[in-house]
Symmetry: C2
Subunit: 320 residues, 2 copies
């Protein structure tokens, strides 16, 4: 388990149960690529989404169904990672070889599909039928936004609003679903469900903006993914959008409509870092974080709120 | 609509409603590839699976949920076609360019995922939560069998039992689910649900065996897919398994462990056709058809049974 949870041992132990539930799912049906998927699951992901789901569940009293539902949400996340890696032609994920690099595109497509099916099966067994519908709607929204994004790749669109809408439909929607589904499953009061849903949205927005900032500055050791990955894929994220406003002449010549050379990526990275755009993007993230913390204050005081606040603060500390 | 339904106008009109429901789903969420998927949906597929679902529903009294559920089952089928075509690197499907050939692998993976999500969402709205679970289990089984199959490609495994288990987990499972889900949704009596489930299984087995036979003999005009497609993909289906038993020396030298040249495909086609294996395989299919018709006799007499029998007979006439 990631040491992100070192100061929250009770939560860490509950996440161990979620991981065990995911392992049980992978053993079913003599699934041929169980080992490869298991490696990905075990590769030290933080399991943020199931953590949020469990914590939201603590605001209600019916907690029996939380672990399988948390497993479903994390399986969905792993399925999207497998398909993303095919799509991005990435060689490694979380430091282990990508599924498609080990078994070919065909089996990776199927492994992702299989995981989606397991995720929906777990959700369909949830006590609240609304959760299965939410999950299906979410997957649809993620796919739809991904395709929109793909159609814009290497076009370098410069609308902040467009960028925010895309990440709202993907990362923020997934975080928001995790909190909402946990609260609903545990039958938390409607007002609490709705506050938690908004907290998830704001946390997800902050998280994705910071992820996009880090792509311009992290070293491979820290992020375990190569710097400038988004640029190489022709993806125009917030730091680039902001930098293009302040120094278009310095950056535009390096933006190709088809692919980005190493030299072009390096040049754009340098320009973006020098432009102050990373700081501005961080302030966008900080605003979402502040909103999330303000929403949190409206929740009933007590251990669940304190625990949830601690996770939000740890997670988004990197935006400060 | 396919002229397969010309002599069943009432059913044809109900399938028109299913197609409209599928169209509505595709219009949701400003889904970017709706047009391409729509082309595939419109390209004259028989819509066999939704037809079976509707007909099974006629054995019960609650028919309001049948059309959306039938749309879900056909969307699932279309999703698997899109992913299959990526996997098989096929250029056309139903006479129109494959989605991945038009929009690239990335968008085709996402379009399939999106359709899966729509399918699960429709199923999750079904009045019977069991249906969503069945559908999720089915997708899992199909993916799992596909991966097993892929791992065996170009190994030319010769076990009839292994072959039957594979098609049972894919085609037969899908037909069986269509009939079972329709009957359950309409709240047909338990005994009827269980007979219809078996009918679906037998029809699916017969259908897939015949599909595999036709791959050895159809011309492109008839099937709208190239003859010998399975051989080219390294897939060992029943006719080849049977032919390898009677004339191994004539066939084995042509079976490569990596890929099949046009000459090798032509040679194997000739040998299989001359071996009598196609007739033996047809008799396997006929046995499943007979079993399906025998099961049908155990259903309550009346219009629903007659209509269902007509479809089974038309569908499997090609096995006689």
């Amino acid at each position: 388990m990631s040491d992100f949870w070192a100061d929250q041992p009770a939560l860490s132990s509950r996440l161990g149960k979620v991981r065990a539930a995911m392992g049980d799912v992978l053993l079913e049906d003599r699934f041929p690529l169980a080992g490869a998927v298991r490696d990905l699951v075990d590769a030290n992901g933080k399991m943020l989404r199931p953590a949020f789901l469990l914590l939201a569940g603590d605001f209600g009293k019916h907690r029996a169904g939380l672990v399988p539902l948390a497993a479903a949400v994390e399986l969905l996340h792993v399925a999207t990672l497998i398909h993303d890696d095919i799509i991005d032609n990435a060689d490694t994920r979380r430091g282990v070889p990508a599924v498609h690099a080990r078994f070919g595109v065909k089996d990776a497509v199927l492994a992702g599909d299989w995981l989606f099916s397991r995720c929906f099966r777990l959700a369909a067994e949830s006590s609240n039928p609304e959760n299965a519908r939410l999950l299906a709607r979410l997957v649809g929204s993620i796919c739809s936004e991904e395709i929109h994004q793909d159609l814009e790749n290497f076009l370098w669109p410069r609308s902040v609003r467009n960028y925010l809408r895309k990440i709202a439909g993907k990362t923020a929607a997934l975080f928001s679903l995790a909190l909402r589904a946990g609260a609903q499953e545990a039958k938390a009061p409607a007002r609490v469900v709705s506050i938690l849903t908004r907290v998830g949205y704001d946390v997800g927005m902050a998280f994705q903006v910071m992820d996009d900032v880090l792509d311009f500055q992290a070293t491979e050791g820290e992020m375990r993914k190569p710097v400038g990955k988004d640029l190489r894929e022709g993806l125009c994220t917030l730091p680039l959008i902001l930098a293009l406003r302040s120094r278009p002449a310095a950056i535009e010549p390096h933006l190709s409509g088809q692919s980005m050379s190493d030299a072009a990526v390096a040049a754009v990275l340098t320009e973006v870092r020098a432009s102050g755009a990373l700081e501005t993007a961080r302030s966008h993230a900080a605003r979402y974080t502040e909103r999330a913390l303000a929403e949190l204050c409206r929740l009933p005081a007590g251990a669940p709120r304190d625990e949830l606040r601690l996770v939000v603060e740890k997670l988004l500390a990197r935006s400060s």
